[in-house]
Symmetry: C2
């Protein structure tokens, strides 16, 4: 059997760190093309290149029924009216679902069915679990004033497909309207 | 796509309840044969039949890459020196792993490799994730003074095999020795 160190990990719900786990960090410059308001993007980038998010990942095993998990930390902030967001992805193995569990802060998940393009906004908060079905592109936005952290669990064989999103993009973006996160068609902002 | 109600659920980390989710409850009388000290079991049962634990489950979809999850609530207490425990199970689809996330309280997971019988005790606490590999029987014990709650995520097709455990039982039990949870061979107590 695996060692205790492999069987268990400790995560910090405030920083998103997992003891001993590798971390991926994304700055604003890594998200070129994600925000609809490109003038606001260039202006924000010119003022600095802030860290938008980090993801610490644990991959205990890679077999057929195995699971991986990660903790995401997404900073509060906006580019124009658009909330700071993750790149978003589909799973390479399209059937793979994912479960998100909110740890701290307030955010939303933008889900988009790959075939139909149907989009949905689902709140992500502490003690809430969000189900991301298979065949569904998903992106996280921080809609609050403090860092958003969350745990994600997915099949080991899910894989991450960022390329399809980078090419086609999500049809919708999430903006602050009257102080509330609102989903609007991307084309209305460009 | 599913409705928001199907995509999201809210759980109470103190009571283990998930809004709208079915709950399974197990009393001491449901765990006949699980505790090694049968005299202590009968004596505790004669004094009442306390609720040992409940599990609320969410099963959003049943496809190949889908996931299910549940929140367990395990009460504090002992039968003789043995901590209150769950029945424990293997997954019907043996390869299926499971990830446990501690929410409140203090406990341990007893893991036993089905083929080798190798056993391991892994602490379960808030902000800790425990990986239960495939082919591994697992049972939870509350080793603290307050209710233990935890979240478990597993492949939708995992299934629960309680029969194998009911027949063969775990080789080890977890007792309080010098105030600490200690794993001992079951046969040393019977």
């Amino acid at each position: 059997m695996m060692s205790i160190g492999q069987l268990r990990s400790r995560f910090d719900p405030l920083t998103g760190a997992i003891a001993g786990a590798p971390v991926t960090r994304r700055r604003l410059s890594d998200l070129r093309g994600c925000f609809a308001d490109s003038a606001a993007y260039e202006a924000t980038l010119a003022a600095g290149d802030p860290l938008l998010y980090s993801v610490a990942s644990v991959e205990p095993a890679k077999g057929e029924g195995d699971l991986h998990y990660g903790v995401g930390l997404l900073m509060p902030g906006r580019v124009g009216a658009e909330y700071f967001m993750t790149k978003g992805h589909l799973h390479s193995w399209r059937q793979a679902a994912e479960i998100y569990i909110g740890l701290t802060g307030e955010g939303v998940l933008l889900l988009e069915d790959e075939a139909s393009g149907e989009s949905r906004l689902v709140p992500l908060r502490p003690h809430h679990a969000v189900y991301v079905p298979g065949h569904t592109a998903h992106r996280t936005m921080n809609t609050g004033a403090v860092p958003l952290t969350y745990l994600g669990v997915y099949p080991a064989k899910a894989g991450h497909d960022y390329g399809t999103i980078a090419e086609k993009n999500f049809h919708c973006v999430v903006v602050e309207r009257d102080g509330r996160p609102t989903m609007v068609e991307r084309k209305t902002l460009t």
